[in-house]
């Protein structure tokens, strides 16, 4: 395929879409599917056929529409955009019969697309959600897909491409925020005949579903980003390491790879250049620690996912000891827009130190749960109260938890901090991959800490002692606090142990496992101290010497 052929394909697809007066885009992501969007789809299909609208109305399964808590969601694209929530088969029929046929909207199911949930967001990674068919490469191409790859391999030198990414200031979206361009540059400069590109799609944080939504709704975006990484560093093989818990994402990825290979957008001599790139999928098997890069690479090679001491870093010695780029899904999803729109465009979004946007999965005790994308630096308050609509009536906001089991709880008094890598760290949390769980007064923070510690304990690989045994003891101590059996001394030891596990563990899992405990102690110390037991004191001469 050449660039011209790509543009022709895009044009044809756009023409094809234009023949429809209206398009019904139903959410086909896992969230709405479990809410019954399959039967909604069937009913739409039936109704369209019955009304003989096959030529004027197209039914499309699209990516996540955001408001997952109100699904199944359906977007109707005609003269304007109309978004419907809680759509069941009956509503689906009404949408066809009333909205499509007579132009009369089904008002009781309508959501305002200009409401604060939507207007405060800025979509880059999620730009195609609700626009294209998640299973069609043509629709991705019609939306500008693979243009960036074409531009990169035909017009740019690898170092120019990396230069763009560096100028854009893109930082790793997996949580640590390492500059992506810098990472790529290290791999590019290392001398090796074989190099690899790996995509970390092992989204293991409980309470996070950003990467899943991207893979389900717009898989080509990730493949395109990976291919550009391959071009930039000189790799011809990529692996996507995806959780087994995401069967739909795996299916869509497989399909996307097949389609891309068929069109020659992956494979040998892409865009008739010297660049070849293949992508294979590796399916994880349920181990949170495999989100740690050295563990992930071992898992890709069919081993136990046990981390290795760094250095050497994967950029020097990764898969099969070859230089390896490893980034997460969202990072790769940002590459194509940067190349398409230029680094200056990207750098202007967000903050100076953390440019761009961040996708969050908003959940917990909050009115609007779902998938959102916001510019970096947005105040936390705005995310929770404007976009999320605050906590349900009658309950009061207590804390927002970010960063999953590696993160911390941010209390009320810090609601005004900007959401970026550095600011979150100052309050003892981390950006993490993007899970944001809101807690209200019904959550006991010691119990919350115990919940996360149980997770870390179960997920510890068992290699290093501080994490293997330390997390177990922290968990037991928290349980002791909850049972009102811990003393002041135990509480002091708990804190000492947390710091020790943090500073001596081998990998990120152990080093960050105490964070939820330390952060809840920092902001909700009272909840611990009221549960402590007073130690028995020696009272001379008043003892009851009975036996």
């Amino acid at each position: 395929m050449t660039i011209d052929e790509l543009r022709e394909l895009a044009e044809n697809e756009r023409t094809r879409q234009k023949q429809y007066i209206s398009r019904i885009l139903y959410c086909s992501s896992a969230g709405c599917l479990s809410g019954g969007s399959d039967s909604v789809k069937a009913e739409f299909k039936k109704a369209i056929e019955e009304k003989g609208l096959g030529k004027t109305c197209e039914l499309v399964g699209t990516g996540c529409l955001g408001l997952c808590g109100e699904g199944p969601l359906v977007l109707v694209q005609s003269a304007d955009m109309t978004l419907y929530q809680h759509v069941d088969a009956k509503t689906a029929r009404r949408i066809v019969e009333e909205h499509i046929v007579s132009g009369k909207k089904v008002e009781e199911c309508q959501i305002d697309v200009n409401g604060p949930f939507f207007s405060s967001q800025k979509k880059i990674v999620l730009e195609n959600m609700g626009k294209i068919n998640a299973e069609s490469i043509e629709e991705y191409i019609a939306a500008g897909g693979y243009e960036a790859l074409a531009k990169a391999v035909t017009e740019m030198k690898p170092e120019e491409l990396i230069g763009e990414i560096r100028k854009a200031g893109l930082r790793g979206r997996g949580g640590a925020g390492y500059p992506t361009g810098l990472k790529w540059d290290i791999v590019r400069k290392s001398v090796s005949e074989q190099k690899y590109v790996v995509c970390n799609a092992d989204e293991g944080d409980p309470g996070a579903f950003m990467d899943r939504s991207v893979l389900e709704g717009d898989p080509h975006r990730v493949l395109e980003g990976m291919a550009m990484a391959g071009y930039a560093v000189g790799a011809n093989q990529g692996y996507v390491y995806v959780r087994a818990e995401y069967p739909l994402a795996i299916d869509r990825l497989k399909l996307a790879i097949k389609h891309a290979e068929k069109l020659g957008l992956l494979g040998n001599r892409i865009f008739e250049s010297q660049f070849s790139f293949h992508i294979d999928i590796r399916i994880g098997a349920g181990a949170f620690v495999c989100g740690e890069e050295t563990a992930l690479l071992r898992s890709v090679m069919g081993r136990r996912g046990r981390p290795k001491p760094r250095p050497p870093y994967p950029s020097e010695k990764g898969l099969w000891d070859k230089p390896t780029v490893i980034n997460n899904v969202e990072t790769y999803a940002n590459i194509a827009p940067i190349v398409r729109n230029g680094s200056a465009w990207f750098a202007a979004i967000g903050t100076q130190k953390s440019p761009g946007t961040k996708v969050f999965a908003l959940a917990g005790k909050i009115n609007r749960t779902g998938l959102i994308e916001v510019p970096m630096g947005i105040p936390l308050r705005k995310v929770i109260f404007d976009i999320g609509g605050g906590t349900p009536e009658g309950s009061e906001f207590k804390a927002a938890q970010t960063g999953g089991p590696s993160g911390g709880c941010i209390p009320k008094e810090h609601l005004d901090i900007p959401v970026d890598y550095e600011s979150l760290q100052t309050v003892g949390s981390i950006m993490g991959s993007g899970g944001m769980i809101v807690m209200d007064s019904t959550s006991d923070m010691v119990d919350v800490a115990k919940f996360f510690m149980e997770f870390c304990m179960d997920e510890s690989c068992g290699k290093c002692i501080p994490c293997r045994v330390g997390t177990k003891h922290i968990y037991m101590m928290l349980d002791k606090v909850i049972r009102n059996e811990a003393t002041e001394e135990d509480f002091a030891l708990l804190q000492e142990l947390c710091v020790m596990v943090k500073e001596t563990s081998l990998c990120g899992l152990g080093q960050s496992a105490p964070n939820p405990v330390l952060s809840t102690i920092r902001f909700f110390k009272d909840e611990y101290t009221v549960k402590l037991k007073r130690a028995t004191e020696f009272v001379p001469d008043e003892g009851n010497g009975a036996q």
Partner: protein
């Protein structure tokens, strides 16, 4: 069957399912690096990973048995024991926790007389926790025999389990 003989032959039991497994092994060129992929396939075919099956994989991929066993036990997804007729998965992700998944777990354990991670004595229901299935917007979430049940309540969970039990009784009758 020993590690040293190196020959790949049909399983002595004559079980045809091994042909399917062999096909996957050939596709991966019998590479030891594909162990996790092969274990996924094997579990998909056989339902769970028996020692005998793991030994077959070890021989085919020319890996030490202890390595294969180590990998199979490291990952939560691999089962070394058969599952019950029905699987009730309760998501234990943070969003589900905040929205009361623990209450659901409690009533189910009480109803089934076994803990999560176990199967009822009659082999009818396996209780399983999942580490976040990524449907946090619909918390708390269960997965009943691969079908997602959103915004689950303890009562609804009980109703569903009892339904399985009744079906079993009917079949028995």
């Amino acid at each position: 069957m020993t590690q040293q003989d190196g020959k790949k032959s049909a399983h002595p039991s004559g079980d045809n399912r091994f042909k399917l497994l062999d096909r996957a092994i050939t596709k991966h060129q019998a590479s030891g690096y594909s162990l996790i992929e092969i274990l996924h396939v094997a579990q998909g075919i056989f339902g769970f990973l028996e020692n005998d099956l793991l030994m077959y994989v070890a021989n085919a991929l020319k890996l030490p048995p202890s390595r294969v066993y180590g990998v199979a036990t490291f990952y939560h997804f691999f089962r070394l024991k058969p599952q019950g007729e029905h699987a009730f998965v309760v998501c234990s992700g943070t969003a589900c926790y905040v929205k009361g998944a623990i209450e659901i777990q409690k009533v189910l354990e009480h109803e089934c007389g076994c803990k999560f991670g176990e199967t009822t004595k009659d082999g009818s229901v396996s209780l399983i926790t999942a580490r976040c299935i990524g449907s946090c917007g619909l918390a708390p979430v269960g997965v009943l025999d691969d079908v997602v049940a959103p915004k689950l309540t303890p009562d609804e969970a009980l109703r569903r389990v009892r339904l399985w039990k009744e079906q079993k009784k009917e079949v028995a009758a």
